[in-house]
Symmetry: C2
Subunit: 216 residues, 2 copies
């Protein structure tokens, strides 16, 4: 897939070999994750807030209550940073210094645009639901006019974007390989457990297929 | 445990019933997680970077290469936000609007202090290792003088801190409970898989007990 040209702000400087700028890597991370950390500035103080997101083509969508400070602040077109991180494992080296973490992350810089068009807004809300659980939108009640009004949707262009990826085992100093300590990777995975039915659910309601086969 | 007095900046405004300010909740989240997202501002642009951390009492430690922009910027005492998030489940409601996520998060505001005292620095490095894997510090090679010099350590006081927690099932609009769609929670957990030994590990080296029983 095509490459997103790095800017001086997104070019990975520390450990540049971990940097990636191709859409395949960036989109792969964004599509596997469903939580991002949004950074914005109010009165000189940075805030970092976890939230959901969705992506279509070169646009990332955020949403939240129209009353939320984050949504109101970002809707004014201030600078934003959206970071998405997936943790794949603990890298256990023979020295403290070379301990590390295997991860895949994406950092998006830019400014958000408030989505006002009701059709784009509804489509973004569909994307949020489908991004979290593919197949669910068709079964649930869609947002009504009041809910649409109470929800702010922001679009962040995927223009100034970089990924950073660490994979593989520890890289130790040559003389440390002789140490008698275990070294390697402890893989970490995010898994789903048995669904917990809502207390008021009709027990005859089957667990949907899209949940049984759920995997990110 | 005692309470951290909320400030106008840390008082949870959206859904205030989800806010928590007691050390038991805040420390519990910080001690279970091992990745945080650090927000800082350079030339008006917020950046959000994932990294490891450690905690002792009312201090959170960050570290990284002394050459990293994040560490250099924060070492100058600018405003920082450190956010830690744990995702516990997808909350599947009967309407799109009431879909949610069960999570536990902590937001820390303040300024960082560069740790220069070699003993505090070494102790912080021990805490990073032990925070990721309790028991490991005793077995590995400790940082030498060169490595200590190449590592910057920052201390962020846990003074202006709030937690936000969502638990439980979906809360639907009364008229939606009659809809024939499955509703409830799909729990999500972060689990470790079988350790992968480093290619250069002596196969006679046993997997340490602290790894076999690893659980966050």
């Amino acid at each position: 897939m095509s490459t997103i040209t790095p800017t001086p702000r997104t070019q990975v400087k520390r450990l540049p070999k971990r940097g990636a700028y191709d859409r395949e890597t960036v989109f792969g991370i964004l599509d596997e994750a469903f939580v991002c950390h949004v950074g914005f500035v109010v009165d000189g103080q940075p805030y970092v807030i976890p939230t959901n997101f969705a992506r279509v083509n070169d646009t990332l969508y955020l949403h939240g209550s129209a009353a939320s400070r984050m949504l109101r602040t970002l809707g004014e077109g201030v600078a934003v940073c959206v970071t998405v991180s997936l943790i794949d494992g603990l890298v256990l080296a023979r020295s403290a210094f070379h301990h590390s973490v295997n991860y895949r992350s994406v950092v998006i810089l830019g400014t958000a645009r408030a989505v006002e068009d009701p059709r784009e807004k509804m489509e973004a809300l569909r994307l949020f639901t489908e991004h979290i659980m593919k197949g669910r939108w068709a079964e649930i009640r869609w947002p009504n006019e009041l809910e649409l009004k109470g929800t702010a949707v922001l679009a962040v262009p995927l223009e100034e974007v970089s990924a950073k990826v660490r994979t593989g085992g520890p890289i130790d100093d040559e003389e440390d390989y002789a140490l008698p300590v275990w070294a390697g990777v402890l893989p970490i995975e995010s898994v789903t457990k048995e669904p917990l039915a809502d207390a008021r659910l009709n027990p005859a309601t089957p667990v949907p297929e899209y949940m049984k086969s759920y995997k990110r």
